[in-house]
């Protein structure tokens, strides 16, 4: 396939990548940009491990061709927080045991960040619904729900993460 250049904003930085138009955003992020925090679980949009935010919307990056992502603003797990400044959702996952094997964690955290942006004080049902596109095989979700509830409280209280 012929290569083309695409520009997009990734974690706040303008990037230009060269890729076939139908290359999956997931592969471009992981292989071209070295952002391996975004994981592949199923390659068919079922598991949500490859979740990223495109212009603030939660999407499965395995289903998005790079041509469609051109010109957008993308947030991956690498853009959510840093060692020195965890996002409240990341801090809450750490505290509440929201991560076990960790492979669904980046996508799950992005889904949780997205949920709390749309719905800052979610009920348990809203959390269950907000995370229903992200499969976790380790936790049974209970610690993840607890983490989202805790993060909502932290964000509401305005405590820096």
């Amino acid at each position: 396939m012929s290569m083309r250049e695409f520009s997009l904003r990734v974690n706040g930085v303008e990037r230009i990548v060269s890729a076939p138009p139908m290359a999956r955003l997931l592969d471009v992020l992981r292989q071209e940009l070295g952002l391996t925090g975004t994981k592949e679980g199923c390659g068919e949009g079922e598991c949500g491990s490859c979740s990223v935010l495109i212009n603030g919307e939660l999407v499965n990056s395995c289903l998005v061709p790079i041509a469609q992502a051109a010109g957008t603003s993308i947030t991956t797990i690498e853009g959510v927080g840093a060692h020195t400044k965890l996002h409240p959702v990341q801090q809450a996952f750490l505290q509440c045991g929201g991560a076990q094997c960790g492979i669904c964690t980046p996508g799950m955290i992005l889904a949780a960040v997205h949920l709390l942006e749309k719905c800052p004080n979610p009920t348990r049902e809203q959390i269950e619904e907000g995370l229903n596109g992200n499969l976790c095989r380790c936790t049974g979700y209970m610690r993840i729900f607890a983490a989202v509830e805790k993060a909502a409280t932290t964000i509401e209280a305005g405590v820096p993460g």
Binding site: G41, Q90, G97, R137
Partner: protein, 752 residues
């Protein structure tokens, strides 16, 4: 018991920060200079002879590295118990998706078309696809009789017990399906070869020394020329116990032939179709019980479908056999068990390892026995649950102070069982939704069975670095369960230092000793205990050398360690497994101490069955267990919740659809696991009775939660519908078929 500083505390997961940042590096996140990519050509038939392999034109074959069985420098098997599992097909195919040929190329995207362009010609042979077909023996596909392994466990005089007058005999047959692990990270490995260093393998795996042993056999290289390094592993559940040895061997063969590092990472469809699953089972119970509800005798016949090669089936069958008696006192019990070969990819280890199959049958059956004698499930169990001082089905005396009756009462109270049961009984006749509540009481043996731990002879180390950091040296791996965290907690506790200064040495066979495989709920209890004793040795060395006083701060400990290293060049303490002195086990008769300890549990499930759609929802779930000392309450709770979720999937959602040994629904789209919207609130309770030979009193926890959900849920469904469903997975169509037919369940009870 509560005086510990670190043990029992909800300290953060050691590698948690890297995981929440997305910085943890899994196998597909790694790359090596000059690395190329490998793929596998697999069999398209269940059984037959390979007549020829043809390479279609249109693919630049000269750019590919191609490996067949002829390229194997060592032995063509994955080294396990019987060594009957070929690394690559050599003439005969025994199951669909069996690896025949390997390809490697620098362009990962070229591989799928290349794999599709390899055509294998076969002469098909008749194949076997169920326990019943294998048992019938018309086609023999393994050994002389298709039996991969059999056991006979016998206690008391079963036949005499059944011949007694005035007894009630209850029979039943219970079946369980295959279950896919569905770890979210697919299997993968990277291998590198160099004439001087030999083979180095990086992999998503549970047991570095298992892969090490297989690589030695396949490559023919000596021990010191094979090195295995576990990288961050995205879930395993038993599914990365044996198969990584296969993928690792494949990557190593391609690396040896190409001279370049080779990465093989399966996609989801390949992982699901080709790798192991939980053994399907069929269990028949015949129970003799007195009219006042005392169990007299069990006659149990348990069969597993092992797939095409023996792999781990003998050990899975062993655990199933021993767990068949459940948490009850049987004066007489006989278990006859067999694992049968079928032309299906070998079934393997999956959390619970035979116990979920056995305990599904037992706990479903006990509800039916209770009904036959006119007792409630709880009263019937109360009369028969094991007591301290009584013996299990292998004749093992329960020495631990257990209180199964009390724990059952507590769990039932937590679930508000009696009130709900009465209410559902009252309301169900008029409702379009039928509600039910049911439970299961069960046990899970911690560690390897019988003499297994003695054979493993595990070795563990604790050392200090020149920077004064403390390291735990084990081959026990982290794949979500919390190995890193609890072993560091144990070391920190014993050394009297902060948790933060203790770390895990890399899980690299070139660095760490063999502390055994990370399986069988053995890490906290067995390996943890060895970490405790190695850490104690390290501390005593420092105190004896005069560098450390009896009371010290973490910094003083670190300074003393550095001083010791400065003076002597190193500071390391090793500890090797020693069996408790009073343990007896006979591998031939299956008599004695089957496990050093058992964990115990009572799980209560509340369900709603929709009579219009026949769907089942689990509305509430109480999980009460006694697992010895809880080393980290957040991690332990997470283990239980995750196990319960997998158990709910096993009971109600997860169905592998087979077509002549091939999994047809090998996608996440049509193999359904519980999502965030499918689970009830899982309420976790612990009882803690410290076990004297476990680390700070810990026993095993990881597998236990897989054993109880399915029977508890099916017992609740029986309560809701009045129908006995004795097979899992139980899908809406199965319920529809029974309820819509309106026919009463076949009565399998007879009174003598």
């Amino acid at each position: 018991m509560q005086s510990e500083r670190v043990v029992g505390q909800p300290v953060f997961r050691k590698e948690g920060l890297a995981k929440v940042l997305g910085a943890a590096r899994y196998i597909d996140d790694l790359s090596m200079p000059g690395m190329i990519y490998g793929a596998t050509v697999r069999s398209a038939i269940p059984r037959g002879r390979v007549l020829g392999i043809e390479f279609s034109p249109g693919i630049p074959w000269d750019e590919f590295t191609i490996v067949t069985a002829k390229d194997i420098p060592g032995k063509n098997y994955i080294a396990m118990i019987n060594n009957d599992w070929p690394c690559l097909v050599d003439g005969v195919v025994n199951h669909p998706q069996e690896p025949i040929l390997l390809l490697a190329h620098p362009d990962r995207h070229l591989l799928p078309q290349a794999v599709a362009a390899v055509h294998v010609r076969y002469e098909e042979m008749s194949s076997v696809h169920s326990i019943e077909e294998s048992e019938r023996g018309r086609t023999i596909i393994w050994g002389e009789d298709n039996v991969l392994k059999s056991y006979l466990l016998e206690k008391g005089d079963v036949d005499a017990a059944f011949a007694q007058p005035d007894i009630i005999i209850v029979v039943g047959e219970y079946t369980t399906g295959a279950q896919e692990h569905l770890y979210i990270e697919n299997n993968g490995a990277i291998a590198m070869y160099d004439e001087h260093a030999g083979v180095t393998l990086w992999g998503s795996l549970q047991c570095p020394f298992y892969a090490h042993k297989s690589l030695m056999a396949v490559t023919g290289l000596p021990e010191d020329k094979v090195r295995v390094i576990q990288v961050e592993t995205g879930g395993a559940f038993g599914g990365k116990e044996d198969y990584p040895s296969m993928i690792g061997a494949h990557a190593a063969l391609l690396a040896m032939k190409s001279g370049r590092p080779v990465k093989i990472v399966y996609d989801r469809a390949e992982d699901m179709a080709a790798t192991t699953k939980r053994h399907p089972s069929r269990t028949r119970h015949r129970t003799a019980v007195t009219k006042d509800g005392k169990l007299l005798a069990a006659d149990i016949e348990l069969c597993l479908d092992g797939g095409a090669y023996s792999t781990l089936s003998s050990t899975v069958l062993s655990r199933a056999t021993i767990h068949s008696g459940g948490a009850y006192f049987w004066p007489n019990i006989r278990v006859r068990s067999k694992a049968y070969a079928t032309n299906t990819p070998p079934h393997g280890a999956f959390r619970g390892f035979g116990a979920p199959q056995a305990l599904f049958a037992t706990e479903r059956h006990m509800d039916r026995v209770a009904k036959a004698v006119g007792l409630t499930p709880e009263e019937f169990r109360r009369r028969n649950l094991l007591l301290t001082g009584e013996t299990t089905s292998t004749g093992q005396v329960i020495r631990q102070q257990i209180d199964l009756q009390g724990w059952m009462e507590r769990a039932l109270d937590c679930a508000n069982y009696r009130e709900k049961k009465a209410r559902f009984d009252r309301e169900n006749p008029d409702g379009v939704r039928k509600k039910g509540i049911g439970f299961a009481v069960f046990l899970h043996g911690s560690g390897f069975t019988g003499s297994g731990e003695r054979y493993l002879n595990s070795l563990v180390g604790v050392d200090a670095t020149a920077e004064g950091r403390i390291r735990v040296l084990v081959s026990s791996t982290e794949f979500g369960q919390g190995t890193n965290t609890i072993l560091c907690q144990i070391a920190a506790e014993t050394l009297g230092v902060d948790y933060d200064v203790v770390e895990m040495a890399p899980p690299d066979t070139g660095i760490v000793p063999n502390s055994g495989p990370t399986v069988a709920s053995r890490t906290a209890m067995v390996v943890g205990r060895l970490v405790q004793s190695a850490a104690l040795g390290l501390k005593q060395t420092l105190i004896a050398s005069g560098l450390l006083g009896e009371r010290y701060l973490t910094e003083e400990f670190q300074a003393a360690a550095k001083a010791h290293i400065g003076k002597h060049g190193g500071l390391c303490s090793m500890s090797r497994y020693q069996a408790p002195p009073d343990v007896y086990w006979d591998d031939q008769t299956y008599r004695g101490e089957a496990y050093a300890a058992y964990a115990w549990a009572v799980y209560v499930a509340e369900v709603t069955v929709e009579v219009t759609t026949y769907s089942v929802a689990v509305d509430d779930f109480v999980a009460l267990q006694e697992v010895g000392r809880v080393l980290n309450p957040v991690l332990a709770t997470g283990q239980v919740e995750g196990g319960v979720a997998q158990g709910i999937g096993y009971a109600l959602y997860e169905k592998v659809s087979w077509d002549r040994g091939l999994m047809k629904n090998n996608q996440m789209t049509n193999y359904i696991i519980p999502t965030s919207q499918d689970l009830p609130k899982i309420r976790v309770y612990f009882e803690e009775v410290p076990f004297e030979h476990g680390a700070y009193g810990a026993k095993g926890i990881g597998e236990l939660p897989m054993d109880g959900p399915a029977p508890a849920i099916l017992n609740a469904i029986a309560h809701a519908t009045g129908e006995d469903f004795n097979a899992i997975p139980l899908l809406p169509e199965d319920i529809a078929e029974r309820l819509a037919a309106g026919a009463p369940a076949a009565q399998e009870m007879a009174t003598v």
